[in-house]
């Protein structure tokens, strides 16, 4: 099924408590090479027809205004999968 994938991450400068918690847990279980973890979200928008450029543009607007909170999050990627 064609879909648009929106990836959202907490803003680079902001603390990411879940990421920090996971990083600490990994460290405790011996994964010393992983120095940091940041956790964001991936959102799939499904279509039952081929995706157009207009769909992607619209997804960009929806991602910025509705799917993410632009005060604390950034939309880092919008990609499509056919």
């Amino acid at each position: 099924m064609p879909k648009i994938i929106v990836e959202i991450m907490p803003k680079q400068d902001l603390l990411d408590p879940p990421g920090k918690a996971v990083a600490n847990a990994l460290k405790r279980s011996g994964h010393n090479d992983i120095v940091n973890v940041r956790i964001g979200k991936r959102i799939e928008l499904h279509f039952d027809r081929p995706i157009t450029q207009a769909d992607l543009d619209n997804a960009g607007r929806v991602a910025a205004s509705f799917l993410s909170n632009d005060v604390i999050e950034d939309v880092v990627a919008i990609t499509k999968e056919d």
């Binding site: 907490p10 803003k11 680079q12 400068d13 902001l14 603390l15 990411d16 408590p17 920090k20 918690a21 600490n24 909170n69 005060v71 604390i72």
Partner: protein, 762 residues
């Protein structure tokens, strides 16, 4: 690979060349910038400029309010100070409550961040006030919140309501602190400027009291807790000192993200550090971050400090020294530790997996030196940053609209002429958002965690057991009435105090101390400054009359959107002490056939009332008359009767008048009553509208067992408190019958009352 900036502005640069600096962008005024140059005898380095700009902002320096706040320390008697262990000026006031225990409490605003990012803004508001309490050496034991939102019908209100309430519940619940009360009010004046005032209270043994000072040269300066990142840089100065415009924040995020689990660990870690006696001074990092902590610790101790800023543990090593100094990353503390105790300190923080780094040491010199590697970037007298900021005598002017507002009394408003119409008005007020059931909000908060909550919402005040052995407890109530303050800020502030005082008293506790959070518009508006001047004078005078001292507080200015300021909203918190929480008095009726008494007298006072607002959308006239002497008598009476176990329930009469008080007392435990008002009408010369809805002060309804009727009435008489029997409780009826007016089925009343908020926001 390190991205650490190397090209920094040093003290020698500042001596060598006088360049253009962005003082204006940082919120400083021309004369303030000049003053900094005079203090230093040169231009400041960019790091120094960052420190001064944030520490001299309204939020940190209280430059517009200072001259008025002094009276809280001046209008006191020795008797009032007797139990005050720490007064104004510290992180929070400390009150001796007996049994070798002390309580510290404070309320602080997080208004602007909560509008920009409601969830994190409110969450970090809770985190910040809890750290203030912790800093005093106390274990935090409860929180409360005073909330003001815009009109319920406005689409943006739901965004703020959802974010703020879930932010508070998230942070507080994760910390495991009960949220025992507060207040929520909706009014369109708060549309673009909601108020989120968070209160925290903590308890300690007298000997555990800690102060934020660095007094022994050679002691180490240690930063511990979360790492420093780029969050909330300039948040304090930018967010708290500038009114919102349409452009909003840019560059680095202006908000911070809180991590309550990190804070919980930090609390336990700090308490263990305190008990081990390895900390000589401690300061939490909130607004203004390291700038504030270093300069205040040094200034409070009358000493200096040498700090290596590159020792600060960072989340992002591209941060510039200016950003590190201003960062408002949460969950951080700064400790002053004697060198001999460093090992013990390390052992404890390591046990709690809390990161720390030694930044420098205390020095015997009136100077704060901060280095960036080999380069000196700050060299200032700490007092000039922390305490000797500018003091403004801002212009004060009686607002032009005030006379017309006061002349527009509610007396001309039409009143109901039939019982049916009155009954309809009662229900309209019961279901109005400001009087309706707030469980939709308070049910999101854990009210009972830790198992010491004796009273919480919807009772008049929150009560926490402090000693499990003796039952010693404390009561807290916070109140504010923006409408009363808009009509008359002097008496409005007194009315907020009177209500909080009464709310504490009705639980059976003895009111003991006061904290406040003064929310106002722009101090650059002379009309707002007049409101501020009046409100602070009113509050200080009333505290003196009631004999309870102000222990500390917070000022929040610039609460306005464009030219339109919020109603002046001084939030007043009153702390009370009760010998044994087992003797607490709930707000609701419980037993069958108890007599219901109205204490105090009623005047025809409907200006600024819930009735005027809900029925007529009217605000004008003069607020109810303040009756402090009567409040005191009333509080003493209830305290006396509570000790004898005479009072079964007591509920304060405030917004909505007697009608709302009766409905709330009945709904609390679903116990109905038969009420008659003829004697009140006759004694106080009132019509039914005034009897039901007047917001006259110093009034409480109490229920007392029938066998104590004579005893109770004589007690009231002896203490000079007017008393009238106005009804009896009637458990079986399941209704409130107001004679010659109407009968309200409790089920129906409850349904309307309970569904308002879920329908609006659920």
């Amino acid at each position: 690979m390190s991205k650490r900036p190397t090209n920094v502005d040093t003290v020698s640069d500042a001596i060598a060349n006088d360049k253009e600096q962005p003082w204006k962008e940082l919120g400083l005024k021309q004369d303030e910038y000049q003053e900094i140059k005079t203090i230093l005898g040169r231009r400041p380095t960019s790091s120094e400029l960052a420190m001064y700009s944030v520490m001299w902002s309204e939020h940190c320096s209280y430059k517009s309010s200072k001259i008025y706040l002094r009276q809280f320390g001046e209008k006191v008697t020795p008797e009032m100070k007797k139990d005050l262990m720490v007064g104004m000026g510290e992180n929070a006031g400390v009150v001796d409550i007996g049994e070798g225990l002390a309580v510290t409490f404070k309320v602080e605003s997080h208004n602007h961040p909560s509008y920009i990012e409601p969830f994190q803004g409110a969450a970090t508001g809770v985190g910040g006030i809890v750290r203030d309490i912790l800093t005093m050496g106390a274990r935090p034991i409860a929180v409360m919140d005073q909330l003001r939102f815009g009109a319920p019908s406005d689409p943006d209100t739901a965004r703020v309501v959802h974010g703020v309430t879930s932010g508070i519940s998230f942070y507080g619940n994760c910390l495991g602190l009960p949220n025992i009360g507060g207040e929520t009010v909706f009014d369109k004046v708060y549309q673009g400027n909601p108020l989120v005032n968070a209160l925290a209270v903590g308890v300690m043994k007298h000997e555990d009291l800690k102060l934020a000072k660095a007094s022994n040269p050679g002691d180490l300066v240690i930063l511990f807790g979360a790492r420093t990142g780029g969050d909330g840089i300039g948040g304090v100065s930018v967010l708290a000192s500038e009114t919102f415009d349409s452009t909003g924040p840019t560059r680095r995020p202006a908000v911070q993200v809180g991590d309550p689990f990190a804070e919980k660990v930090l609390i336990e870690c700090c308490l263990e550090l305190f008990y081990a006696g390895v900390v000589a001074g401690i300061q939490d990092l909130g607004g203004a971050g390291i700038s504030c902590a270093t300069s205040e610790l040094a200034s409070n101790g009358g000493k200096g400090m040498k700090v290596q800023l590159q020792n600060v543990l960072l989340r992002d090593d591209s941060l510039t020294p200016e950003e590190i100094l201003m960062s408002e990353s949460q969950e951080r503390m700064m400790a002053i530790v004697p060198t001999k105790d460093l090992k013990a300190f390390e052992a404890i923080v390591t046990k709690w997996e809390v990161e720390y780094s030694v930044l420098g040491e205390v020095i015997d010199e009136d100077r704060l030196y901060i280095n960036w590697g080999e380069q000196e970037i700050v060299n200032v007298p700490p007092r000039t940053v922390a305490h000797d900021g500018p003091v403004y005598h801002r212009p004060v002017e009686y607002p032009k609209y005030q006379d017309a507002l006061n002349a527009n009394s509610s007396s001309s408003l039409p009143r109901a002429t039939t019982p049916a119409e009155l009954a309809k008005q009662i229900m309209a007020i019961v279901v109005s958002p400001n009087q309706a059931d707030k469980s939709w909000i308070t049910a999101q908060y854990d009210r009972y965690v830790m198992g010491n909550t004796a009273l919480s919402m919807p009772d008049d005040a929150g009560m926490i057991r402090v000693s499990e052995e003796t039952g010693l407890g404390i009561t807290l109530a916070t109140d504010a009435n923006g409408k009363y303050c808009q009509l008359d800020p002097y008496h409005g502030a007194q009315l907020a105090l009177a209500e909080a005082y009464r709310n504490v008293a009705v639980t059976g506790a003895k009111p003991k101390a006061v904290t406040n959070c003064l929310n106002f518009g722009s101090p650059e508006n002379p009309g707002v400054m007049w409101q501020f001047k009046q409100a602070t004078a009113g509050l200080a005078d009333a505290c003196l009359e009631l004999g309870i001292p102000v222990t500390g507080g917070n000022v929040s200015f610039y609460n306005q959107t464009g030219d339109v300021a919020i109603y002046p909203t001084p939030v007043v918190g009153v702390l009370g002490v009760i010998d044994n929480v087992a003797r607490r008095i709930p707000s609701g009726w419980q037993d069958e056939g108890n007599n219901i008494y109205l204490l105090g007298t009623t005047k025809d006072e409907l200006d600024g009332s819930a009735w005027a607002e809900t029925i007529h959308q009217h605000l004008g006239g003069k607020p109810p008359v303040v009756e402090l002497a009567a409040e005191k008598k009333l509080a003493d009476l209830i305290h006396g009767a509570a000790i004898q176990g005479m009072i079964e329930a007591a509920h304060d009469i405030s917004e909505g008048g007697l009608a709302i008080a009766v409905v709330e007392a009945a709904l609390r435990f679903n116990v109905g009553a038969r009420i008659w008002l003829d004697e009140v009408l006759e004694r106080d010369d009132l019509d039914l509208t005034a009897a039901l809805f007047s917001e006259s002060q110093a009034r409480v309804i109490v229920s007392v067992g029938r066998e104590d009727d004579v005893k109770f009435q004589s007690l009231c008489e002896a203490r000079g408190v007017p008393v009238l029997r106005i009804g009896v409780t009637d458990k079986a009826s399941g209704s409130i019958e107001i004679k010659e007016l109407a009968t309200f089925e409790l089920n129906e009343v409850r349904e309307g009352w309970a569904k308002t908020l879920p329908e609006l926001f659920g």
